[in-house]
């Protein structure tokens, strides 16, 4: 098995066995850290971006422990495990307390967009296609 497979398996086990939790970090500090660490680059300013994290869209957001495990698993446990997506965040560069603050802030992202039927320009695109 590859390191990646082991890691994915570990995340899956932990995710399955740990209940959804709330953050213990500080949301205000987390907002600043989210910006300073440029988390918005991929996840948008409200958790909608190339990788959505609003509404706990990712499994690694199930609770704080899983989030920290995800950040550290490659960076500290397997620093040579290359990543194609999420950058590595070792504890040396992103301490646990800052990571907890970021986690707490991410949990405030709730995206509740209107239904397509309530967005006229999107509904019109569908209607136009159906009548073509």
């Amino acid at each position: 098995m590859t390191k990646l497979t082991l890691f994915t398996g570990a995340i899956a086990l932990v995710t399955a066995s740990i209940a959804i939790g709330q953050g213990t970090g500080d949301v205000v500090r987390g907002k600043k850290a989210y910006y300073d660490q440029a988390c918005y680059a991929c996840h948008g300013y409200q958790g909608i971006g190339r990788r959505n994290v609003a509404n706990r869209a990712s499994g690694v957001l199930v609770n704080e422990q899983v989030f920290l495990l995800y950040l550290r698993a490659r960076a500290d446990q397997n620093p040579d495990l290359s990543t194609q997506t999420m950058p590595h965040y070792p504890a040396s560069s992103l301490p646990d307390d800052v990571a907890r603050d970021i986690y707490a802030y991410i949990l405030t992202f709730v995206d509740d967009p209107p239904e397509v039927g309530d967005i006229p320009v999107l509904q019109a695109i569908l209607d136009d296609a159906e009548t073509e």
Partner: protein, 637 residues
């Protein structure tokens, strides 16, 4: 392709080589194979140092001078008038230029010559040579034919070089005219072989020695640019030739290029495959001109083929919502013909840049370090033909027409009906999924890019529009939400992936749009904008129907992500990634920049509920014939 100096004729060397000023020019120019001195006397001159410019020359250079003396007041029929006549006969609509002191002869003819001066071509003022060539590039992608950029000597060409490189990789026909003045005070502005600086990424160049040669060269430039592989070409026009008396010299008759086609035997074989197939398929890439699209539609309808298009990634491809465009009723295709695309059973592609072996290999040298991008030909198809697909299609259509009998035609009619329904259903299913995804973050601030594209679409869908800017950095939302049915619907990405392109190329597309009751949409990245914003002024000055919507994410966002990723890999933290990648302290106010250039503008818009009204104002203004800019603060991607 044959270089202009390989035939032993050498570049132009007139008696001025005996002057000290010309000697200075020669002494600063690196010697190239095409610019060897012809004899010992010339070689001796090359080693001589330049004399300083005369007081008159220097006075002219600093702008406090009286106009330069007219070379010959007796000139009744300037050579540059005939150059303009050549361009007029070729229906070249525009010459885009940042003025320089090497081509006032040609410029004066453009704006004064003939019964309809400054029309066909019209002189378009660019504020940077890179913008000028980008405008030519945008026009060429939109119309499938060239206009001219006019640049001054070595300095203008170097400003233009990035855009020429981009047009070369985009296989776009662009004619670059270079003014050359050996008697000027600035020897840095001239060279024996000016075109050599861009020979690595142009298709053909010439430096004519006489007016008659210059007229021939302009016609040959047009032929070369428009013959596949289409690409930028260069003609160096000496200032003296522009100003000399033409006498009774006539503009030569233009001889259209010969476009390579497949043979009739090949056409018959392909037609046989298409007609015999139970489920034929066309893979359609980018044609040279809109004519290719018409012929592809004709063939698809004739043989009842479903079609794969590249219309959502660039210009001149099959209409995206044509009834036959889509996966069709059955994806088990038994005969796939590629048209400027690979095909399983047959393909007609090229010739493309890979055939230009004498250009980007020897060039100016970087080809020796690493061969430039030259995609290998896809030879996966069984029957791979190197020819121009557009020019070959009439032969295939003619052969197919001959082969079809009444039973075939009934079967094809039935197949087209089933394809039409299947493609419709596939598009609706795709859109149902897409709109669900696009509503995510709909009310977020800064503005969701999906919302921007969706709201803009509702305002332009019934207009004649051209999306001139590449959309990779703003999410490609047009690919799913918009309908790309015209040759110029989407002009595609930056061919060299080099920023500083969208504003100029969009202005070029808008040059084409202005006389065609079309509007141009430019969804403009902020990083790209800041290279050469002067095209804003050009758009205002020439009243171009261009709506620029800033995708303002306040940074070089891709580079931010790359830097962030590497810092993570190195375990050194990501809290300083904004250094060198973002526009902070201060933020840039694009609406003010546009206003400073005289463009109507507004923003920054960060409230999503304010976006639609801003877009309405923008579209309305552009439909009225004026450019407009909306600065929208957006989500990063």
């Amino acid at each position: 392709m044959k270089k202009p100096h390989d035939d032993g004729t050498k570049i132009s060397r007139r008696q001025f080589l005996g002057t000290s000023a010309a000697a200075g020019a020669a002494s600063i120019v690196p010697r190239t194979a095409g610019a060897e001195p012809q004899d010992a006397a010339v070689a001796q001159v090359v080693q001589t140092k330049a004399s300083p410019p005369s007081p008159e020359q220097m006075a002219r250079e600093v702008g406090a001078a009286t106009p330069p003396p007219v070379a010959s007041p007796a000139v009744k029929r300037p050579g540059s008038d005939l150059m303009v006549q050549v361009l007029r006969d070729l229906r070249v609509e525009f010459v885009v230029s940042n003025p320089g002191s090497t081509f006032e002869g040609l410029q004066e003819s453009i704006v004064n010559y003939g019964d309809t001066p400054n029309v066909m071509p019209e002189f378009i003022t660019a504020l940077h040579e890179e913008s000028a060539v980008d405008m030519c590039h945008g026009y060429a992608r939109s119309e499938g034919k060239p206009i001219c950029a006019l640049v001054s000597g070595t300095i203008g060409l170097q400003h233009a070089s990035m855009a020429i490189y981009q047009a070369f990789l985009g296989e776009s026909p662009v004619i670059v005219l270079i003014g050359r003045e050996d008697f000027g005070p600035r020897q840095q502005h001239t060279a024996d072989d000016i075109a050599g600086m861009v020979r690595a990424y142009t298709k053909w160049d010439a430096q004519p020695r006489t007016l008659a040669e210059a007229l021939d060269a302009l016609q040959e430039a047009y032929r070369q640019a428009t013959t596949p592989p289409c690409a930028p070409v260069v003609v160096v026009l000496d200032a003296e030739i522009q100003k000399q008396e033409a006498g009774d010299l006539k503009v030569p008759a233009y001889r259209p290029p010969s476009i390579p086609t497949i043979s009739r035997a090949d056409a018959t074989k392909i037609a046989d495959g298409l007609v015999r197939a139970r489920n034929p398929r066309l893979n359609v890439g980018r044609f040279r001109t809109p004519e290719g699209i018409d012929r592809a539609i004709e063939l698809a309808e004739l043989v009842g083929a479903s079609v794969d298009t590249r219309a959502t990634s660039g210009p001149m491809s099959f209409p995206q919502t044509h009834a036959l465009c889509g996966p069709g009723n059955d994806t088990a295709y038994d005969y796939v013909l590629g048209l400027e695309q690979p095909g399983a059973q047959a393909s007609i592609t090229g010739p493309h840049l890979r055939t230009l072996d004498d250009r980007d290999i020897i060039g100016i040298g970087f080809g020796d370090i690493r061969p430039p991008v030259r995609p290998e030909r896809n030879r996966s198809g069984e029957y791979d033909l190197v020819a121009d697909a557009e020019a070959s299609l009439p032969l295939v259509i003619e052969a197919a027409e001959r082969k079809l009998n009444e039973r075939d035609r009934k079967s094809i009619a039935s197949r087209k009906t089933t394809h039409r329904q299947a493609n419709h259903d596939a598009r609706v299913a795709m859109l149902r999924k897409a709109v669900e995804e696009k509503r995510a973050g709909w009310n977020g601030s800064p503005v969701s890019l999906a919302r921007l594209y969706a709201e803009l679409w509702s305002l332009i869908k019934d207009k004649d529009w051209c999306l001139a800017s590449g959309t990779i950095f703003s999410g490609f939302h047009n690919v799913q939400l918009w309908e790309h049915d015209r040759p110029y619907s989407y002009l595609g990405m930056y061919p060299a992936a080099a920023l500083g392109y969208c504003l100029g190329s969009s202005a070029g597309a808008a040059l084409a749009a202005r006389a065609r009751d079309r509007i141009v949409i430019n969804i403009q990245g902020d990083g790209d904008f800041n290279y050469a914003p002067g095209s804003i002024w050009t758009a205002v000055h020439h009243q171009l129907p261009m709506l620029t919507i800033m995708h303002n994410n306040r940074g070089y966002h891709m580079e931010l992500m790359y830097l962030q990723h590497l810092a993570g890999v190195r375990g050194r933290g990501t809290d300083r990634m904004h250094i060198g990648t973002t526009f902070r302290d201060p933020y840039i106010d694009y609406a003010k920049i546009a206003a400073g250039y005289g463009m109507k503008s507004e923003g920054p818009v960060s409230d999503p509920d304010a976006l639609y009204a801003a877009l309405e104002r923008g579209v309305s203004t552009v439909l009225g014939g004026e450019p407009y800019l909306i600065d929208v603060l957006t989500q990063p991607r």
